[in-house]
Each structure stands twice: as structure tokens, then as C-alpha cells.
Symmetry: C2
Subunit: 453 residues, 2 copies
């Protein structure tokens, strides 16, 4: 069978010269080789046919969704690969109110899922910054986001999924059952496997009832150590915040410039933006008071926004750090993670690297779960300076992350760009068995080869 017999519709198949530029450029990967073809299936059966075609022709396959990945997992690196882009498989199939389950195709954007379920009184908690990322990509990277401290990550909300294996076989992982002690957990093995084990064609997500009230606090601290201490105190208080975001004054500057207004507090060098949700106004107030009691001795100022506009303004500052920064410089964003009590130590360490390597860094992140987003800023460095210095800085940084018991990626994935760091930070025995598991599902190394390890 030829590709044109599988994907008959024009505009859903691009070969050779016709392949659009979006598939051959990436902000994180410099040189992208030509691909064999790009196919955009609209149904599970087409994905199966495409995988069988690739097997017959001995082509390697890259699964791709919204293309927003920042680790290069969805980018071809070998040449003459078949890209299966599932972005047209973007239907919300069903919301089952009895089992609190949303069935979606992998190309649905996570922002669209939020909108859809919230309008019906439901809640899909994982909230990665990129609302334009696809749910298939979220599952492939086990995406996190700002609400992980209370609600967990994508892994915690996938009940079931259908995958096409490199053999062309179809497999359903997980089930609608809430508990299981019935065989090996293949579902969790596939979540976060970055398209190296199978191609997801349908996902059943677990929903919660939508919380009815929400309130946000902004707390300023002398420095990032005090702010981390504050975050730990909040976690220990039992106040159960849904978000504990930490950012430095230095990072806030870029958002303030971009948005044209100042953050509501200007005291200190580090801030926590804490959000609580619930179903009862009074109870929320009680939890906020618990936090105030516990963090006041550690902090310089505690603002609790009763006006939702003020909360929105503070959140916008946090959300616009990167957008603001973009107007000043090219940058690279990391997503390293350390145990929560090492958060400040890591951020402090990154400061020391600035002078050593002649490269400016900023930090913000999810202090409730130890996930730092360190930003390396290029400034006016030449290509060569930038590459040499960033490489040297990353080597130091990831060495420190390892020493603190951390991992190279909390939520973006390893893809192509963090492969060497994963190898350095993972025990050989673990890497060995990961590779053996890859061989079990993909003995011909057909699916996203050269990614992860």
C-alpha cells in the first residue's frame, strides 16, 4: 500500500519538497534533516495503517501533536523519517458524568479541555503554562504545571489510553476502574515515554468537580532562602494550596516592563504567589489565616487579594516573565527538579554560576513541588560564546542538580536536548532496563529513535 492510499485527502499528506516549514524548524534544534513524509491522520485506523506502512518500508516514525514541545522530542533528527502528526485528531468525544471521565483524541489542546469541562462544572487540574500544547503531548511528557502541588501531574489524571505499537498492534492501557491490583502497570510506563513506545490515539481523562471559590496571596521575602522556608511552612500548615509559585524580583522586572504596571509588592528579593481553592468562602478564609500566621514571621509583606482583579494582575506578572524577557534577549528555559527542601540551595547555586560562566540567569518555578525554571539569558553574546558558555554552565548546573538528588526534567521531557544529562544523572542499571523495555515494545527501534536515551 502507498501512503496516498492511506491518506487520500489532499492537505493531509506532504511528501519531500511539499513538507511545510513548521516540521523542519525548531527553536531548540539547529539542523533538521529532510523527512520522508508528513501524514495527518484523522482516525485511529489511519494511524495503524501508517505504522504498518512504516514497518513495511523500514521507516522510522515520529509522532507529533501541537508541536509545542521544548525538548526536541517531536523533531526529526535522522533523516527520511515519517512524521505522524495527530493535530487533526482533535475531537472531544465524550464527557461521562457518571464516571467523571472525559474521552478525547490526542490532538485536543489542553486549554480547550479546560474551557470545555469548566463550562460544565468539571475540573481538569493539570495546567501547564502552554495552553496550546496537545493532550497527547501532555501525556507523552507527563506534563505538570502550576497546580501540581495540590492536584498532581498529568499521570494522575489519565485513566485509560489506546496506543498503536510499532508493530501495528493496538493496545488499551489502564481502565475506568479507580483501583487495580491486576497485573503490571503498563499505563504508567507509557505516560512520559515521549513517543518512544507507542502512538496514543485516544485518552480517557479523570475529572474532578470544579472548585467553587479561589483566592490568591502574594508574599514577599528578603531572599529566595526565606521564600523557600515560607513555601515549606505553607506545605506543613495543612492549608492545602493549589499553587505555590516562586519568582525573583529580577525576573519580575521583565513582566513589569512588558505589562506596564508594577507587582503589588516591591519589598524584598523573592516572592511567593499562593493560590487556594475550595468550595466554601469561610473555610478558604480560615486556611488563608493559617498561612498568614505561619509565614508572617518569615516574610516582609503578606497580601491577600479579596479583589479578583488584583489576583489576576499578580498572576499576569508571573505568566509574563518569559514573554517580557523575550523582548530583551534570546533565552533557554530549563525545568530541573529537586526535592522541595533543596529549592533555595539550587537557585542560590545558579547565581554563583553567572560570574563563573559570564552568563545571566533568572529563576522562577513551582516551589511547592521543587521544580525550578532556570532561564539562561543570551544577551548580546555571539553564537559561539553563547553555545560554549551555556554548555559549560549546564554541565555545572546539572551536576549540582544530581548532587541534590534532583532530575533533569520535571515536566518538559528529555527529548533530544537533555539526553546527555539524563544519562549522567541516571544509574546505569536503570538506563539499562529502560533500554531493554524499549526493545520489548520496539525491537526495530522504529519509534522516535534517538530520543530519551
Amino acid at each position: 500500500m502507498e501512503l496516498q492510499e492511506i491518506i487520500k485527502e489532499k492537505g493531509r499528506l506532504f511528501m519531500g519538497e511539499e513538507v511545510p516549514d513548521e516540521y523542519l524548524t525548531d527553536p531548540y534544534i539547529e539542523e533538521i534533516p529532510d523527512v520522508y513524509a508528513v501524514a495527518l491522520p484523522t482516525r485511529h485506523e489511519e494511524v495503524v495503517e501508517l505504522v504498518k506502512f512504516a514497518k513495511e518500508k523500514e521507516l522510522t516514525i515520529i509522532a507529533r501533536g501541537a508541536g509545542t514541545g521544548v525538548a526536541g522530542a517531536q523533531v526529526p533528527i535522522h533523516g527520511q523519517e515519517l512524521i505522524i502528526d495527530v493535530k487533526l485528531m482533535n475531537q472531544i468525544i465524550d464527557l461521562d458524568e457518571e464516571t467523571f471521565t472525559l474521552t478525547v483524541e490526542p490532538g485536543v489542546l489542553v486549554g480547550d479541555i479546560h474551557q470545555y469541562v469548566e463550562a460544565l462544572g468539571y475540573f481538569y487540574p493539570p495546567d501547564p503554562a502552554s495552553k496550546h500544547s496537545s493532550i497527547g503531548g501532555n501525556v507523552a511528557t507527563n506534563a505538570g504545571g502550576i497546580r501540581a502541588v495540590k492536584y498532581g501531574v498529568t499521570r494522575d489524571y489519565v485513566r485509560e489510553m489506546t496506543v498503536v505499537l510499532p508493530s501495528g498492534e493496538e493496545m488499551t492501557l489502564g481502565s475506568l476502574n479507580i483501583k487495580s491490583s491486576s497485573g503490571y502497570d503498563l499505563l504508567d510506563l507509557f505516560i512520559g515515554s515521549e513517543g518512544t513506545l507507542g502512538i496514543t490515539t485516544e485518552i480517557k481523562l479523570r475529572l474532578l468537580p470544579l472548585p467553587e471559590v479561589e483566592q490568591t496571596m502574594l508574599i514577599s521575602f528578603e531572599d529566595v532562602f526565606k521564600a523557600t522556608e515560607g513555601a515549606l511552612a505553607i506545605l506543613a500548615s495543612g492549608a492545602d494550596p493549589s499553587e505555590i509559585e516562586l519568582f525573583e524580583k529580577e525576573a519580575v522586572y521583565y513582566a513589569e516592563e512588558h505589562l506596564g504596571y508594577p507587582l503589588q509588592t516591591q519589598l524584598g528579593e523573592a516572592y511567593l504567589l499562593v493560590t487556594l481553592d475550595g468550595n466554601d468562602e469561610l473555610e478558604l478564609k480560615a486556611r488563608i489565616n493559617t498561612i498568614i500566621e505561619d509565614v508572617e514571621p518569615l516574610s516582609l509583606e503578606v497580601l491577600s487579594f479579596t479583589d479578583p482583579d488584583e489576583a489576576r494582575k499578580a498572576k499576569l506578572i508571573r505568566d509574563n516573565i518569559l514573554i517580557g524577557l523575550m523582548e530583551f534577549t534570546q533565552y533557554e528555559m530549563l525545568d530541573e527538579v529537586v526535592p522541595i527542601n533543596k529549592f533555595a540551595e539550587l537557585i542560590h547555586y545558579t547565581k554563583g554560576l553567572q560570574e563563573k560562566h559570564g552568563l545571566s540567569v533568572l529563576n522562577f518555578g513551582h516551589s511547592g513541588d521543587g521544580n525550578v525554571h532556570t532561564i539562561l539569558m543570551r544577551g548580546d553574546l555571539t553564537d559561539e560564546e553563547w553555545q560554549t558558555r551555556r554548555k559549560a554552565l549546564l554541565d555545572d548546573l546539572y551536576k549540582k542538580v544530581k548532587e541534590l538528588g534532583g532530575l533533569p526534567s520535571a515536566e518538559h521531557g528529555i527529548g533530544t536536548v537533555k539526553k546527555s544529562y539524563l544519562a549522567q544523572m541516571t544509574d546505569d542499571v536503570n538506563l539499562h532496563y529502560m533500554r531493554k523495555i524499549k526493545e520489548v515494545f520496539d525491537p526495530e527501534n522504529r519509534l522516535n529513535p534517538g530520543k530519551l536515551f
Copy 2:
């Protein structure tokens, strides 16, 4: 090296005739063959040596903890196996208050973990009925329990564990990091693998702050369908209960007889025992009121216990159903699970099986997560009648569970006794890849062979 050189202390090694009876009897497995030896290591290094010894001597190995498993996973079935009993590895090693992590050896009993952490203001939510089960066994079966509806299962509380592989290699799975997108999730693969992939020698558990207040409600319904409707309404209300236990009047009888007092409501045929926890008395009251509003139209009576003694009495009734039943008859307890909206249908179906197979059944279970405990009662049946009838009933029952999208085991595991049902209820492709994964870690099929599949 000989076994006596690895385990030098008398009383920690039993060979041939010396092997105590507890290792050779089991309520669920009739004939148990002789074993090669039983070794009780006290350190990780001894486990490594024992596994290497078994490899050299080509012995198969069974890991065992408190021995409370009800699926026969910890029972020898082949003859001449080496039992590694970790019950003396029972130290609570560390409670790290900064990362909310408890480090334990696998032989620690789950009841002892509860006691230890609660005295220090922490909370380990998984709460299986058997407080005398070991945490290693809880991890091996992904144990659930009554609080799963709010807090999830054992899987959700294991941050990291150290395992000894059949090769004698040591591997650390997971980490103290809360988020990870850094390679395949080997940790979740090992959780629930019933001792077939590795032997756990250390576990790091995630703790929560201990909730400060708790209240229990008892709600009576006309029948099990109405009670299930009530459970779904409570789940949808956002009231976030920590327990939604369902039991039938028929089952309550045995507990009442055993305890010598009646359940506080005698109306209707089915009951929900609902517990809520939190940190604020008023907020808890508000959530209780939400439940009352939502379930009153569906129910016959709603009791909300402000007196903790009354709550305790109602919970004791629930906890004593099996103990009470024991005085009347031998029984077999199942732990099947179905999607939550199929709970009543399954229970109703089991009733129909009574007449067909001439066997009485009772049901109770965790209606918040679809996990039914169906009890088959032997009564005065002969051995042969009992075996024939229970087998025929189980065949029908598990066929129905499959039809409803369910699984054979929610929390006890497959072990030996549910193997054929797992095979029937699992797609061949899934079983195939589970077996291939087993081969990756255990190519000589040395670890707990013949269990699971």
C-alpha cells in the same frame, strides 16, 4: 557460599524439616510443597547475597513479608523454593520533616506506620483493612483500603524504593522529586508486581499533614441501587469525602450479632458510611450539609454523628462484618472492581447467582471507588459441593465483571488464586507485553514464578 555463611544467626534460617508450619499452610492454597529453605535477612546486603545464592544454585525465590496476603502470591507452589522472609527488616529508618518522607524497611506493618506518623502530626493515607500487613506487601499489591476515594492508593504514596533484582543487581526506583519527566516510570511498574520483578528492601513514603477534624455520617437507602446513586451524588457534590463505604443489611447482621448492638439505623436494605476529614470544624459542617441536601431525596434516613463514640460504633459494625461472619461459616472474599457507576449492577447480579449456584453471597465495599468485596459463604456444603459451586459462581461473576469493564482485583492482587481470571479479563496483547517485561527483569523466571500469569 552456603546459606549458613550468609545467614549466620540461628533462628533466621530454616532448612528442610525445620521450616515452620506457617510457611507451609495457607487458607487459600490447599497443597503446599516443601521448600528448600526459609531465610530471614535483616539487611539489604543479606538479601543481595541470598538472591545471588539462589541464582548460583538455580533455585526459585519467593519474597514474603507479614504473610497476610489473600491471593497466594507469597505461597510456594513449585517445591524446593527459597523463601526470603523480610519480616525482620522492620525498622522505621527516618521521618524527614522537610520533604514529608518516611523511610521504612519492607517488613514494617502498616498499622505501625499509621501510629508512628500520626503521633508526630503526619498522615499516611492508605488504610487497608489488615493493619498487620507489611508495607512491602502493600507495595507489592498496590494495596487500597477505605480512604482511596479521596487519597488514592499505595501507588500514590511511594516516592522511592530500593529493589534487588533476580540478577542480584540493586536498583533505586523513583526519587524524592515530586515531578519527573526524566525517563520511563520504572517505579510504577514495580508497584503492584507481586514480587515477580524484584525484592524491595527499602521504601520512601510520602506523608501528608494529619487532618485535624473528622466526622462520620450513616445513610440508609431502600436498596443497593439507591445507595449507589447516593454515592455518585456525594462524589459529584464536591464534598470530598475520605470514605464512602457501602454495605447491605444482610451483611450487617453478622457484625451486630458479634458486637451485641444494632446499627444506628435499621431502615432500608443498604447503607453508606461516609467519613469526611479536614482542618476546620465549620467547613466540615458545610460539606456535611451539602451531602445532606444532595442525598436526602434519595435516602430513608441520614444520621450525622457529632458524638465520636457513635461514629466509632458504626465503623465497628462495618469492620466486624467478616469477623462476625467467621462465627457462622467459612467464606471466600473477593475484591473485584468495576467503574463506579456499575457498582449496583454488579451487586445486583451477584444476588441472582445465589439461586443459580446454590451458594449465598454478601456484598460490601468501597463504593467511592467501585471496589466490591463479594463474599461467598460456604455454609454446610461438603468440600466437593463447595469447590464445584464456588468455581461455577466465580466463572459467572468474573464474566460479568469483565462485561462491566471491571478487573479481577482492586487491591489484594492476583497471586495464584486469580490467575485464570486475569488471563480471561486481560487482552492478549497486554498479557504478552507483561510477560515480555517479566523476561527483561527475570529471564530465568526465578522470582515468584507462576504468580500473576
